[in-house]
């Protein structure tokens, strides 16, 4: 739980994405317990209903599941699932931004490709 909440996006979506990030980074491992709504709301100073909304989205997408009376746990296969979803939105959220900025400042297609190759080799 490192990141700060920003104002550019709904808080419940930020909570959702943050938990996803932690699963992707293996900070939260599959079948491990996820922080509770109350813990999240205290930590981030957010309304518990907002934290619950983010958690519920993850439940709906079968990223986490509820163990009655115990809490929320990361579903087996969650990491793979998140990667798939994120790959789908990668173009929309990242590539398009990079390309429009590149066009704006006159970086050619080839220059951009070269830069990506160079960064990837690091």
């Amino acid at each position: 739980m490192l990141s700060n909440l920003g104002e550019d996006k709904s808080i419940y979506l930020q909570i959702k994405e943050m938990i996803e990030d932690e699963i992707l980074r293996d900070i939260l491992k599959e079948e491990e317990q996820v922080p509770s709504t109350t813990e999240l709301s205290k930590f981030y100073k957010i309304n518990p209903a907002t934290a619950a909304k983010g958690i519920n989205l993850l439940v709906d997408e079968s990223i986490i599941y509820k163990k009655r009376g115990i809490g929320m746990f990361v579903q087996t296969g969650a990491k793979e699932k998140i990667m798939e979803t994120r790959k789908k939105s990668f173009r929309e959220t990242f590539l398009k931004k990079i390309i429009s900025e590149a066009q704006l400042i006159g970086i050619s297609k080839n220059e951009l490709k070269k830069m990506i190759d160079e960064e990837n080799d690091l």
Binding site: L5, E7, D8, K9, S10, I11, Y12, T38, S41, K42, Y44, K45, I46, N47, P48, A49, T50, K53
Partner: protein
């Protein structure tokens, strides 16, 4: 779930109408934020809702029962407002511990252990007299009363006004702790919107004696946008939407748009950003009084 409800509230002070036909509903089990400019009518509304001040017109009920002079109804509500440092007879020399003892006698669910814990947390000397307290300490005492009252509906009028940033954060976390543990209802008025916005499940915006908005905070912000870019593009993109506070610089224009619901995409080459509650409030209220 219970509801504290105000219907058609009108309040006049002499020639001034400070509340103009206000309808408001406070549902239990939620944290509310009440925001409005100085003189918008926040304190008047809160004092009327808690029967500390009579309305000229309108009704206040809790679950259908009138609140006025209704001891049973009022015992469910705590309205903790800032203690006055002066009385009719001069400085208010009551000691903090005696002030708290009065509160203890008044609120039937008073939690003395919790009160003691909070006195420690806010580092208040109970032997100090009220007229010797700093602004921050006064705020802390009103917070202690509100929290320890354990009232079903707890109303705080600008509780953080005199507090430093550490104490403010402590207060926000107290509210979340209490809310998570008990589901008590909190109504909190504040000018420091940015740091408290994420606490509020619902927000009530009052301007010029009228409630201009009462809505789930997330839903409200999900339909608010800041659109900027070249003037004609911005005008085209924002056409048909409710626009607040247009500003121009050179050929660039910025508007705040409040749509009926979330908008997937605005037409044209414009920059679309989310609007924090404080900025939305500013955009909605900054031009209001000039027109009026």
């Amino acid at each position: 779930m219970s509801t504290l409800s105000g219907k058609n509230i009108v309040k006049r002070y002499g020639k001034d109408t400070v509340l103009k036909n206000v309808d408001v509903e406070i549902e239990t089990g939620k944290i509310y934020g009440l925001i409005g400019r100085n003189g918008a009518g926040k304190t008047t509304l809160l004092s009327i809702l808690t029967a500390q001040n009579p309305a000229n017109e309108g009704t206040i009920t809790i679950d259908g029962e009138p609140v006025w002079e209704n001891e049973k109804a009022l015992s469910r509500i705590c309205y903790s407002r800032e203690i006055s440092q002066v009385t009719m007879f001069g400085p208010n020399t009551i000691k903090v511990k005696d002030y708290l003892a009065t509160a203890r006698a008044f609120y039937k669910n008073w939690d003395e252990d919790y009160a003691k814990e909070l006195i420690k947390l806010f580092d208040i000397n109970p032997k100090k007299r009220v007229n010797k307290l700093s602004k921050g300490m006064l705020s802390a005492v009103t917070i202690i009363v509100a929290m320890a009252s354990k009232a079903e509906i707890t109303i705080l009028d600008e509780p953080v006004a005199g507090l430093d940033v550490v104490a403010r954060e402590q207060f926000y976390r107290l509210v979340i702790d209490e809310y998570a543990a008990t589901g008590r209802t909190f109504v909190i008025s504040t000018h420091i919107i940015e740091e408290a916005a994420s606490l509020f499940e619902k927000v009530i915006i009052i301007d010029n004696g009228e409630i201009i908005l009462e809505e789930n905070t997330e839903e409200l912000l999900a339909r608010a946008y800041r659109i900027s870019g070249e003037e004609t593009a911005v005008d085209a993109a924002a056409r048909g939407f409710k626009i607040y506070h247009p500003e121009s610089i050179g050929r660039n224009k910025v508007v705040t748009v409040l749509a009926e619901g979330p908008v997937d995409d605005f037409a044209g080459d414009v920059q679309v950003e989310a609007v924090p509650l404080q900025n939305l409030f500013y955009a909605m209220c900054v031009d209001g009084r000039k027109e009026a």
